[in-house]
Point group: C2
């Protein structure tokens, strides 16, 4: 089927900068963009959609999430980290069932799709359920089984790792490539050098990516230096971890030397500002990482530490908190932020065929309704997206040419049924 | 007319803490709350509204705004403060006409009403237009004429001050008290000791409040100490300014001694986190001010430095940025934040008859629709309001018993006409 989006403004990347096409046309053939111009196409399309007053841009890519944790949203707010984790989060997670994770995943997808996310990187347990929910929804997913080392077990007997590899063998490339499976090292502090070295080797053998937490808190950074005489980044590199493409969540406490190492080894940091602020981790040196040319991406983290999965909130926070912290309004430019949320995320997910709007790329896109009081005037689209646009301004979410969401309605998911199932499942959890 | 809101959860204040009434009833007689219970009333109401699944709470009070600056939204983003002000903001403001300010005010009211604001404190020029727009909309407004001293003129000839006093005489108490007029000292650095002393005396004579900017930037704080040998707070106090009730916007760089002084003199600080972050001012010591028992309030500032007027964004930012800055997840409790956005704001505006839901108080309230994927589960209402609720979740805005907004529709304003007028006026501005 061929679809035409017409009379919309469109944001594309040209030589690294954002260009706005005015009152333009975007054609989609199957799952791929086939036309993009300010001139109407001559050929006929099966379906045409008038998007006058709307801005079309690449779909947002959430590079770090634990999506089923939406069921833990708001649980034990405002405690110190240890009390929160050990008295609230872990005991609740211990009650998870496959059905519970499926219900939570579906709820999380309602939220992510409505706020313009077309692809996300997820780290959790019961991953078959997450994959099933994502395939049904039509969203893109890089999933990994959260993997913590067991120093008391030989590598081959470690259930986490075996499940992670089996997940890769079972699902990688499924649903026309919409599902990708990454491997995982949960974090330096939940693994041993042996398990990290072994995971790194398996990842290299499978030819996939590693998703991990890196230098999230000051205590993690300091404990690693005390234990190993080096930072988590240098430790991981010494174990072969960075021989793979790596998605490194948080990177709050990375040193200048860590940044140079990550640049040299092609590690993609994921900035998670809501989570870093809410649980008091601190300010990641994002402008410094951008200045050094790292492929910085953006993520929501899980809803337990956020408390939602709203990428426009992350864009907004990333745009302003560093100005406040550095007392400098000139840092964190909207144009860079928008790349973090789109094309950089696609690169980090190993999806070179998406993340920007261009003929030949996948039709993964969203539209923003600018006919809202809080979006008038719209003098500068990237600035508006970074500072003013809300999740509820998203009026279209399309993945691989398929509309998942339009004007408040879900096209692939039954929202009322999912909310009802979630409420029933939550009664069992609390 | 008597109206009954039924089957809603309701947040009230009991002995300083928030209490949730479940599946409850709130009756309104004219402009006043006449009933609040989990038991249905026996008497008949003229109109009944089923708000099942909704949370009813006091309307939000935006204590610092320059509402017409919505027309400058996104203008000259990411510049240093001087270039931004002198190359973009001031030259654009110089083009203002009464009609332009009226159009901008009306646009700002669409935005504020939709995000649950029932009262706001505004500082600007062409104030008759702002008052006119607010009266038409039915929102509550504490307005003041921005006043900058002219050291070359005797006090009686200072146009700013004369206009401010005339505004008070013309409008204070209008529209059943929905309009209040404050006096203004724009800031220490835009006035002289003589003009500040004179404004303070006029304010005392009129028996109203003063709205001012205080210690917003480090350079302002340091320059004042260099010039006068004391901080802006101590300077103002020495001139009699704090003999009046004072709404002090920003307070980013106030010292511990300033905080003690403000406590002793009953000054209400207005925290404006978006603006403080975006233009790089820094982190106001809000938890410290709360700990000392100051009546801390919340505000959006103008849209030029925000870029919207969304109080839920301010709540959210205030809830998390200080955790990040202080590396402490336990600071800035949702219960305190919610008071900042409601009852504290009412006190600072001199509106003892609103800011909380209680029989005998004015019916100034909003409802939040919790049947949204991103609000499930709702384990803790204040935490959900601080961390997860979005502006678009507001489904009812009532002021003095009159519905201004319900389920996306404005009841007192013609949104399409206002947006069209705004677009025409903006063409003349840019």
């Amino acid at each position: 089927m061929k679809q035409l989006l017409k009379h919309c403004d469109i944001l594309t990347l040209e030589q690294g900068g954002w260009r706005t096409w005015k009152n333009a046309y975007l054609g989609v053939d199957g799952d791929t963009i086939c036309y993009l111009s300010e001139t109407a196409p001559l050929e006929r399309y099966d379906e045409e959609k008038n998007l006058s007053g709307k801005l079309v841009l690449p779909g947002l890519i959430n590079c770090h999430c634990h999506s089923p944790m939406v069921f833990l949203r708001g649980l034990g707010s405002d405690l110190n980290l240890q009390d929160w984790l050990f008295q609230y989060i872990f005991p609740t997670e211990a009650k998870w069932t496959d059905a519970g994770v499926r219900a939570a995943s579906e709820l999380s997808l309602l939220e992510m799709i409505a706020c313009g996310i077309t692809s996300f990187s997820d780290m959790y347990y019961h991953c078959d359920e997450i994959v099933g929910a994502a395939i049904e929804a039509g969203i893109k997913l890089n999933v990994c089984r959260s993997t913590q080392g067991r120093p008391d077990l030989p590598f081959a007997e470690n259930t986490d790792c075996k499940e992670g590899v089996a997940l890769f063998d079972r699902w990688d490339g499924a649903a026309n490539g919409r599902i990708k499976v990454d491997l995982c090292i949960h974090a330096e502090y939940t693994n041993t050098p042996d398990t990290m070295r072994a995971y790194a080797a398996v990842c290299k053998e499978k030819g996939t990516r590693l998703h991990l937490h890196l230098s999230e808190t000051r205590s993690e950074q300091e404990a690693c230096i005390q234990k190993y005489g080096m930072t988590p980044a240098f430790l991981m590199d010494s174990l072969g971890v960075f021989d793979n493409p790596v998605l490194a969540a948080h990177c709050v406490w990375v040193t200048d030397e860590d940044i140079e190492l990550m640049k040299a080894r092609g590690v993609s940091p994921v900035h998670c500002p809501s989570s870093n602020m809410k649980i008091g981790s601190g300010f990641a040196p994002v402008q410094k990482m951008l200045d050094r040319g790292l492929n910085v991406t953006l993520g929501t983290d899980g809803a337990a530490s956020n408390n939602n999965l709203n990428m426009f909130e992350e864009l907004h926070l990333a745009a302003i908190i560093h100005n406040g912290y550095l007392n400098d309004p000139t840092v964190m430019k909207p144009a860079d932020l928008l790349k973090m949320a789109t094309v950089n995320g696609a690169k980090a997910q190993g999806r070179g065929d998406t993340g920007e709007l261009r003929v030949g790329k996948k039709a993964d896109l969203i539209a923003i309704d600018f006919d809202k009081p809080h979006l008038i005037p719209a003098l500068d689209y990237p600035a508006m997206l970074a500072y003013a646009v809300q999740d509820s301004d998203v009026c279209l979410n399309m993945v691989d040419g398929r509309i998942l969401y339009e004007n408040g309605e879900y096209k692939t998911l039954d929202a009322e049924k999912i909310k009802a199932t979630a409420r029933t499942a939550l009664e069992a959890l609390y």
